[in-house]
């Protein structure tokens, strides 16, 4: 079975994005092992002189390297991605670069009606930067708007249409992970071998 890492894109104690990933973990238990990952204990990135990864970052990096794919669920703060998630990605790009060529699925939940669409579009652009270069699943936006009302007491997504939509996207993602593996094997990312770095170039 496929092993996936689900990154909770916030350091908040209460999070509808965490709820969403927990729901996916349970709902898709037959199809994949999804391990949730919390980023709240990662230090804040500050471009240190030393480019070795702090232990918490190394830990996340190892998990990503071993996983077949990554799901990132992002809140929306000020039409963008929360600072803590950005900081996590800065660490990864600055040190071990484990996301290069890694299949990534983006999900998001927000209190507003638009359900993190703007944050997701920023996240796509960020993951496309040369030091991250993830393989982001195309044409697949899964968003939960008005997220405070979206889950029932058992943590299940209340709207059956939403559940179906999520199932379709998730099934596609499973295939996308396989296809990407093929693609990467035959066309490895050029940056990967060179290990692109802004600071060295």
């Amino acid at each position: 079975m496929m092993n996936l890492i689900g990154i909770v894109g916030t350091n908040s104690d209460q999070s509808t994005n965490r709820q969403l990933l927990e729901f996916m973990q349970k709902h898709f238990a037959e199809k994949a092992n999804i391990e949730l990952y919390e980023i709240k204990n990662l230090p804040a990135f500050n471009k240190p002189r030393d480019t070795t990864a702090p232990p918490e970052v190394q830990d996340l990096s190892d998990k990503i390297k071993e996983a077949d794919g990554v799901i990132i669920s992002t809140p929306e703060y000020n039409h963008s991605v929360p600072a803590i998630l950005k900081s996590t990605l800065e660490w990864l790009s600055y040190t071990t670069q484990p996301l290069i060529d890694k299949p990534v699925m983006i999900t998001g939940a927000s209190y507003g009606r638009l359900g993190s669409s703007r944050a997701q579009s920023h996240l796509r652009q960020i993951l496309d930067a040369p030091e991250l270069k993830a393989r982001i699943m195309p044409s697949s936006e899964f968003l939960v708007g008005l997220s405070l009302q979206a889950f029932d007491e058992d943590g299940k997504l209340a709207d059956p249409n939403k559940v179906q939509e999520l199932e379709e996207i998730f099934n596609e993602f499973i295939q996308f992970v396989d296809i990407t593996k093929q693609l990467v094997k035959t066309n490895p990312n050029k940056n990967k071998s060179k290990s692109f770095s802004w600071e060295k170039n």
């Binding site: 916030t10 350091n11 908040s12 104690d13 209460q14 709240k40 804040a44 990135f45 500050n46 471009k47 002189r49 703060y77 000020n78 039409h79 963008s80 991605v81 929360p82 600072a83 803590i84 950005k86 900081s87 990605l89 800065e90 790009s93 209190y111 507003g112 009606r113 638009l114 703007r118 920023h122 652009q125 960020i126 496309d128 930067a129 030091e131 991250l132 802004w198 600071e199 170039n201």
Partner: protein, 395 residues
């Protein structure tokens, strides 16, 4: 004009800091720029509110007091650095100092594109309803390949770059002026000319023959009219007090009081404290000045507007919350019309109060609480967001 420049990086060394320092140093004939760092600001966390911490309050105060803000952003992974993002999250969570504030974006990065992508993200973020800054359109100042841009003295090497930077700053100054006028309640129109703020006119009580701007105007004017003082009795409606009693009485008022007459001359304040200890500072030498001398020029339109409301009888009082005092105070300036029995406008009683102790006392006495605790506070940002997303969904 007072500007704060925010360094969008928390790194020990930053080219964006050099860029702001260069602006502060080289364009000081145009603007007064104070460069602020963000490295002390903690990572934003919705469930650990640190809005009241020193670094955030410091930034808040500086931004609120400034006429405009320049943000210099690096580019990290095609976006703005998390450190800057975190600052903007704090400044849109419980407090909103950038609301309505003119902002100019500049940026330096290693790529030839010089932070163009991060500048675009920053624009979108500053536009979000919780931040709601007024970002200057166009004029992206992008400094690409920044590791080659400065000489040993930390000056920009390229003369045409310096020239462009200067033209951007000039444009920003004009932009700030325009935004200030738009924000004044009458819309685009500058209404400063509706009031004689230099007090060139004369009313029955105007004391003539004394220079209004003299530091000892009070002493000179008192001599000119033979003003009484000390233990002399004055008859009032309704009672009799000595001038001393009247003074102590006014100084015991729970507010800073200021009297400006209908000729827009500043005649009196109940001097309880030294200027620096006042909620709205006044100095003894200012008394007698025309109002134009008591306010910065950019506020003339707003001042004139307030006086017009009172003079024309549209309002009896105009209030404004002044948020520069930090979270422990809620300072309100009330401009109360002073009128005679016939309702003729005689001037303004401006009283300045911190009303927080009164509200706290009221809540304690009645056992009530303000709503807007932890959960609600988050939706504070959210409510605003919702309204806007609602509007977006419609179009």
């Amino acid at each position: 004009m007072k500007i704060v420049g925010i360094v969008g990086s928390n790194a020990e060394f930053s080219y964006n800091r050099l860029l702001l320092n260069f602006i502060a140093k080289n364009l000081k004939n145009l603007v007064d720029v104070e460069v602020l760092d963000i490295d002390e600001v903690p990572m934003f966390n919705q469930s650990d509110d640190q809005t009241n911490s020193e670094p955030i309050q410091y930034l808040n105060k500086k931004i609120v007091e400034a006429d405009g803000v320049i943000i210099a952003t690096p580019e990290y992974n095609h976006s703005i650095p998390s450190a800057l993002q975190s600052v903007l999250e704090w400044l849109s969570f419980k407090i909103h100092p950038l609301d309505g504030k003119p902002v100019m974006i500049v940026g330096a990065s290693y790529d030839v594109q010089g932070s163009s992508r991060s500048q675009l993200h920053l624009r979108q973020i500053l536009d979000a309803p919780g931040v709601n800054a007024v970002v200057m359109p166009g004029n992206e100042f992008l400094l690409g390949e920044v590791h080659q841009a400065f000489d040993e003295d930390e000056n920009l090497k390229d003369a045409s770059t310096v020239q462009f930077l200067e033209s951007c700053i000039k444009k920003f100054i004009r932009f700030i002026n325009v935004v200030t006028i738009i924000d004044s309640p009458e819309g685009m129109k500058d209404v400063s000319s509706t009031e004689d703020l230099y007090a060139t006119g004369k009313i029955d009580t105007t004391i003539e023959g004394v220079d209004m701007e003299a530091e000892d105007w009070v002493e000179q004017a008192a001599e000119a009219v033979g003003a009484v003082e000390g233990d002399t009795y004055v008859k009032l409606d309704r009672g009799i007090l000595t001038v001393n009693q009247l003074n102590y009485f006014l100084k015991s008022m729970p507010a800073e009081l200021t009297y400006a007459d209908s000729n827009n001359q500043f005649l009196y304040y109940n001097r309880m404290y030294e200027a620096e200890d006042m909620l709205a500072s006044r100095t003894p030498a200012q008394v007698g000045n025309p109002l134009a001398k008591c306010h910065p020029e950019r506020t003339y339109s707003g001042v004139a507007w307030v006086i017009q409301q009172l003079r024309k009888g549209k309002e009896d009082v105009v209030r404004a919350h002044v948020p520069t005092h930090g979270p422990d105070k809620f300072v309100v300036h009330s401009y109360q019309a002073i009128r005679d029995e016939e309702g003729n406008y005689l001037g303004i009683n401006e009283y300045v109060q911190d009303i927080k102790p009164i509200i706290d006392w009221y809540l304690k006495q009645t056992g009530q609480q303000l709503t807007g605790g932890d959960v609600d506070a988050v939706s504070g940002a959210t409510e605003k967001v919702d309204t806007v997303s609602g509007a977006t969904a419609q179009d």
